[in-house]
Amino acid sequence: MASQTSVITLSQGSKHRQTARHRLTIGIQEFAKYLALVLFSAFFILPWVWMISTSLKNPQELAVWPPIWIPHPPRWDNYVQAFAQAEFARFFLNTLKIALPSVIGALISNALVAYGFSRVRWPGRDTVFAIVLATMILPGFVTFIPLYIVFHRLGWINTYAPLVVPVFLANPFFVFLLRQFFMGLPTELSDAARVDGASELGTFWMVILPLAKPALAVVALFQFIGSWNDYFGPLIYLSDKSLYTVSLGIANMRGSYGFNNYAWIMAATVMSIVPIIVLFFFAQRTFIEGIALTGLKG
């Protein structure tokens, strides 16, 4: 990017020399840039290679030094074993039972709340919104003990309720994101709907929500990933193994199988990531735009 536009008014001779040198500098810069990218990428790619490679090894190959990169023959059976032994299908289903209702809950609650903070005018609105933002720094660790005790009294331990119900009551981060988006939509649209006799809820439902699809997609995606990846919630609220989520299930495998069967653990780990990777490749742009949205406008 540097100095492409520089040095124009020079005599012919030195201009030749200048462009040659200029090209060389640019060449070196380009080379350094890509070299740096490749080196950094190696750090980011290595764990993937190691994970997949380990997941295909037999127990002998696990302990070999120097390590084997490409197991021969690849032991696909590890995946079958991990799937069967660790009750993986059940973990998958359990996680979906939490993640899908959570997505619905996050969409409904956060859209409503964000609408109330952006498209409805009421006295004190911005002060209350400041409180919403302030609660973002309240660490979950401060509130989880009383919550655990309340859920315990309600008989919600070993159910998915503690993991799903709070999602239906809005999340400051998503409210912030959606409010930002709603405020960018022209007021004329709502005014027109109101003139036509639509109620506030009708305007919300028929005018604003259809326009907010990109932002809603971000919320749905992040909530799904959040529920899929959650560890702390399932850890403290679920003790019955038949209720375990994928994350809790594979973490538990480490205790049960130890290092001798690390190939199984890696096979299970790969399987736990696949849904996230698939989601990423289908919704790459939503991800990137969503993240940029969260960091920038703060």
């Binding site: 990017m1 409904i108 919550l147 009551l169 990846n229 973490a251 205790g255 736990s272």
Partner: protein, 304 residues
């Protein structure tokens, strides 16, 4: 919020707006009261009590706090958390900005590079922890193999009290991708003319970064550092998975959050754990305020 007197002065239309608005935000209000404020106050109360989970809490005043500061494990959990945050947060910011700047230099295959850097940060944390646990294994792990390629002998990493925290910090850098994407978006908003003007004035690259780029993206850096710090103080899942919740070896990875979890769910001392939670909360608030204060002059808000 409107005072009582002002509430009476509201016009009919304003009052209707207030009711509509409050109805729309009611899910948040309910969640705020039931899942934030009430538990928040309750945990303060519990922190002054002796509360084995199956009995009712008994008031013991400041005893929990006094015991905590003479509890060697709690003091080392403070030290371990501070150590982790002190290195992981600045290093994360440094590499995040560095990678974003590289990507901002008109590179070919942008979406591929971005995917490589970003994918780890949406990978389930448990999966990340399990993979790195195996990578750090001194006998069969890939990290010590890579180190051996340059003729050195790698340490025992997670088995060695000295190297366990550096291992966690190294692993944390794998998740720097979210920050990269945020920084990159910020860098793309830096006006081109500013950079070009500085080039015409003869500024070299480092000066450009120091005087143009970093000030322009400073609000985003502040945002990332603060959220990073809050996250680091609550660093939990990786350690819990990698050490089976123990904070081993020799308590060298016993984080505040891990010890808190142990107090609550291994020793069932809910009062003691609540006191720990409140100390954690105070630390987070203090650091957030300090960050805002210190950065006040250094952060450029574009004339706002």
């Amino acid at each position: 919020m409107p005072t009582h007197r002002r509430l009476h002065k509201l016009t009919k239309e304003e009052r209707r707006g207030l009711i509509t608005g409050l109805l729309f935000i009611s899910p948040w209000v309910i969640g705020f009261l039931a899942f934030r404020i009430v538990p928040f106050v309750m945990s303060l109360y519990y922190s002054f009590t002796f509360f084995p989970i199956l009995e009712s809490p008994k008031w013991i005043g400041l005893a929990n706090f006094r015991n905590l500061f003479t509890d060697g494990r709690f003091v080392s959990s403070l030290y371990n958390t501070a150590y982790y945050a002190f290195f992981a947060v600045p290093l994360g910011a440094f590499f995040g900005i560095l990678l974003a700047m590289l990507l901002n230099m008109k590179v070919k295959g942008m979406s591929i590079w971005r995917t490589i850097f970003y994918l780890p940060s949406i990978t389930p944390v448990v999966a990340t922890a399990l993979v790195w646990l195996w990578m750090f294994n001194p006998r069969g792990g890939i990290i010590n193999y890579v180190i051996s390629l340059v003729g050195l002998r790698g340490p025992g990493w997670l088995g060695d009290p000295v190297w366990a925290k550096p291992a966690l910090i190294l692993m944390s850098l794998w998740g720097v991708g979210t920050a990269v994407v945020i920084y990159l978006a910020a860098l793309q908003d830096v006006p081109r003319e500013l950079v070009e003007a500085s080039q015409l004035d003869g500024a070299h690259v480092l000066q450009q970064i120091r005087y143009i780029t970093l000030p322009m993206i400073s609000p985003v850096i502040l945002f990332n550092v603060i959220t990073g710090l809050i996250g680091a103080f609550q660093f939990f899942t990786e350690v819990h998975v990698m050490t089976g919740g123990s904070g081993s070896p020799a308590d060298s990875t016993l984080m505040m959050s891990i010890y808190l979890w142990q107090s609550a769910f291994q020793f069932f001392k809910m009062g003691y754990a609540s006191a720990q939670a409140w100390i954690m909360f105070v630390i987070i608030v203090v650091f957030t305020v300090i960050m805002f204060r210190v950065s006040g002059r250094a952060v450029y808000y574009g004339g706002r």
